[in-house]
Symmetry: D3
Subunit: 244 residues, 6 copies
């Protein structure tokens, strides 16, 4: 099967890291197509960044439909454009935040999230609540690391994240840790080993879950509100080509 993993920001090195994480876990028979957002910011650190980056994400989903993709992963921890993407995709679409939350709830009765900037903790809390994980998440913790610091090989980000994970385990009564940024996709296995608890990267989880849904023949429900967008309306302006 063919799964498209879309990093909605425009930083190629981060897309490469995400693609590597996806390919490392994918089944041999799964083809991973990785893409960056077609337009927008180099990193997504707030609601405005998300809103604009969503256009580039949706363009890649549309392109993915033409490419015959069976499912999609939105590789940004805010799950931007999730329901919009589901409307235009026939196969399943998963965000990495939701995927990580689902997985964490399967292996622990409580988890903490370790993310980047303080402002992202609020976005994460909104997601937890929207999805129904607000009771199983013990705490959302910020490291105050900008997203692009994770791409900087000389940064101290790995140590800072590890320490925040340790604090979560000591203070939050958490059984597992969710890493709250696609840019941390390369850290999960090592941190799991080092900390002795499940440390969860949503990119890898989402790939396995989309694979599972595709194998099960479960597609996005098209009989109600996730039906394809209504056509036959006029679209104008510079995004007129986004008309469904």
């Amino acid at each position: 099967m063919r799964i498209k993993v879309i990093n909605p920001n425009t930083t190629a090195s981060m897309t490469a890291k995400i693609a590597a994480a996806a390919r490392a876990i994918a089944l041999p028979s799964t083809e991973i197509i990785a893409a960056s957002g077609t337009t927008g910011p180099a990193s997504i650190e707030g609601n405005y960044d998300e809103a604009v980056a969503t256009v580039g994400l949706l363009e890649e989903v549309r392109r993915g439909e033409a490419q015959g993709c069976d499912g999609y992963v939105i590789a940004c921890f805010g799950d931007p454009g999730l329901l919009a993407a589901r409307e235009i995709a026939s196969g399943p679409v998963l965000g990495i935040a939701e995927a990580a939350f689902h997985a964490a709830s399967m292996v622990a009765t409580g988890f903490s999230v370790v993310t980047t900037l303080g402002r992202s903790t609020v976005i994460c809390e909104h997601l937890l609540h929207r999805y129904g994980f607000e009771r199983i998440c013990r705490r959302v913790r910020a490291t105050d690391l900008p997203v692009l610091e994770l791409e900087n090989p000389r940064s101290d980000s790995r140590r800072i994240i590890t320490e925040e994970c340790r604090r979560a385990l000591a203070e939050d009564r958490a059984g597992a840790i969710v890493l709250g940024c696609a840019g941390m996709a390369d850290l999960a296995r090592d941190l799991s080993d080092e900390l002795g608890v499940p440390v969860i990267d949503g990119v890898a989880v989402a790939v396995t879950m989309v694979e599972g849904l595709v194998r099960l023949g479960l597609k996005t429900a098209k009989n109600f509100d996730l039906a394809y967008p209504i056509t036959g309306k006029s679209w104008t302006g510079r995004l007129a080509d986004m008309a469904p």
Copy 2:
């Protein structure tokens, strides 16, 4: 003061209707600037429509800042781009759904929403839950009217909406009705009179509430997650000019 009322879709007749509703209620000293979204669909009927239209909305907010606007109203009942708009605005920004819900909760202990398409009921329920109105809203009802039918003077939409309101009053134990589309802004006063209950149009409510916040000197909180977007990052592609 200067309040910008943005209809995120691109239908000028609907923007005109919204502007009229806004001006009818605004204080004499308030200047209403009305704008349609700069790009996107003629009507917003789903998550995909919302996601794309958000770009055109945000462009108008950015323009509004340059125009010295003191506050903003997002005149689409899904409140698209609300938190993104708050990040780039210094003054208050209100969606018409949230405004209507706030007002309804002030005059009744329970209300029902009468909206357009069935698929919009889910978006509405998500908003109710996100804002904390899930317990005071008794029911969200669809009329199955497409948004643009509300612009068609020969349509039967007014009768259909009135009948759905009557059903809500008969069946839902509702004390008030919220009209679930900016395109119904011209109906609220008449329906209130006809039905003898508060029938609430979010456009008019939002204008008075933004006026209130501006008079109170209350601006969007910039000290935390609604701070201005982070600058200094590279923006690329056709929306690169959206860089903050």
Copy 3:
């Protein structure tokens, strides 16, 4: 229009302060009628105080109906007698706690409350939950200041409140502060300036919101549970004159 602002306690200096705050924000065309409760305690610091003071409040609402008042503000942070007042008023009635919560939710994604005594924090939490703001309120903080200390020009109350606000901003991930007592109505503007965040006084907010509802023609829903009290029943004892 004519708005009655009722301080349900019997301390005239506090009523004067509240009236000043109301008049400072009211529209030129709005007449503010201020009143203290007709009977009860000098300050309201608990459920018992609230319960008795409610009678004096309701007397003033009844008098207000005879005075042709278009709307009411209950200027005590526990919102005592709110639904009872709504039953006997034709126009809108707002409590200052609810008004402040509504406003805070419009300018921030999270707020903290700074109030007087520890026992009042529980009353505040009950209100937050009843209204649906339990998720957006980050924390309710007590200063252990008795209400009447706020009337004492030689007290240290201003410094104590300011410090508690600073702690809220440092520890609670709050974007805005709600002042949890009508007796703090004179502090909001200065604290906003000093702390650089929205600091919200419910008295001023409630005035603007009642003005808005009156301008919108939105009255209390009389078709269901907020209908006028049922008449034709015998009323006895010293409050028999309260018969509707």
Copy 4:
């Protein structure tokens, strides 16, 4: 022990019925003191009625403390003045609505409430939510019977209530029924037998629960927000004698 059962309305026949229900269940060693509210309406059918009746209720609690009462039952299904009464009582105070909800949750996984007027259903729902029973209550049903109809021997109320209970069992997936008015206290046993399910009257339940708390030595927590009202403040007006 001595338990005071207070009917907050002023209808002596209803107080007599309530007293009979209380004495029928009380332990031989329990003395039941029954009292009507000292002032207010003949029946309580809304928030305004409740608010005024609370004064008469609190007077009887204060008198009860002087009478050496060990505990109290507030025999009105809206539980008016509950927290205020707890502040001035040393022993436990239970409302009949909360008592009935507690008992129902012990014998069934879901219950429905059958009450009087439609407007009372909202008050009931607020209580369910305040106490945490919103998930175990399946539905609140109104019979549209005025409270005083229950005192009228020629009324059809018994048949109407029985039929509504039958509808609840048929439609609500309820395992038990809660009778939503103190004036139904004489019906529970017969309805239980007739319908073959637990039908719960809060008056009788509350008496046994207060007896239990008193036997356990559990008094109202006085270390925090239910501490006695703060003294030393000036009280004025016709209720000045209510000063604690």
Copy 5:
């Protein structure tokens, strides 16, 4: 009446302590039958222990039906097997955790739980949520005492529990304390006296509440999901004798 108090673990000294607590509070006319679980672990400290011990508990409930028991108390703070026991009992069945939570909510607006091991705090939180007490419980605190330490007369457990209670009162804004283990049944009265707040042991509470329900004639609802188990099915293996 006859009430069976079942300690689902197999430690006779703990059953004796529980029986003593039950008999100390029971009415003179109540016969307390105490029993340990027939099989399983000496103490219950986790979900696995609970699951196995439930069999021994259910055997004792079945035996209790033959013994003519009018009601049951499950004397383990995890309330193991509660709904299963209700299915096979005609009279009421109460767990000590739920009983304690009910009582605490009657005498305080917030309580904290002091329990044994950290792992038990999660089980307790699940119960709080299942029953609807998640908002009134302020915090669940572990002492890290193994259950059987409470049976060791030379252990320091009493001091450790007292100190944790003091911390709860100082930090949690709690009005009452719930003791989170049947093995603490002998401590409640002394701790109440020492700390000056209601300290609640679920065993004693549950006995009074079951007595109350039995006196009220309220049995487990057999008309719906708590009906007796479906018979006529094949049961096999070593627990085949558990067939209903």
Copy 6:
């Protein structure tokens, strides 16, 4: 990898059907070991049935650890013994109800459950709430089919289930259907095709999700409350061999 799928009831034909569903979806490299519960009822239709069957389930999990199983599926829609099984397993353990809910939430914004007996709807609702799916589940519907009717080739069960699914789609605003019994595992694909919506069988979903977790290296969190049961305690009676 080796996944054990345990049908906690003792009906071999149902275990065979479940095993076939598991093998049909499993990866070629996955070995499915299927087992019935070692003791208990032929079908699980209530809390009592669940409680006893849990012992036989846990025996098979223990045996599975000796067999080197990498993960487990509990193939009964009540997810009996889930947390107990997680305590004794090193790999992941999934119940089929939770698995189905997770999957449904990925492909629809609302789903309905179609299950067997009315009494099972309450168990299902408790699970939905415990897991956080109470808002996304629209309704739980009973067909009143006994579980073993699903094993009867001459029964009308398939038609009855199909009709209930159709009612769900017509009335519940559901985008997907969850089949609420392991005995329906053979119906999902056909019903999906027939109804044109995702119809979800938890057995197949759970297999793919456990495979995913094992591939990800995510095991049950052993650092906190899901740690292995505490050893060193005495176990007595006929289940003494269950000592960990």
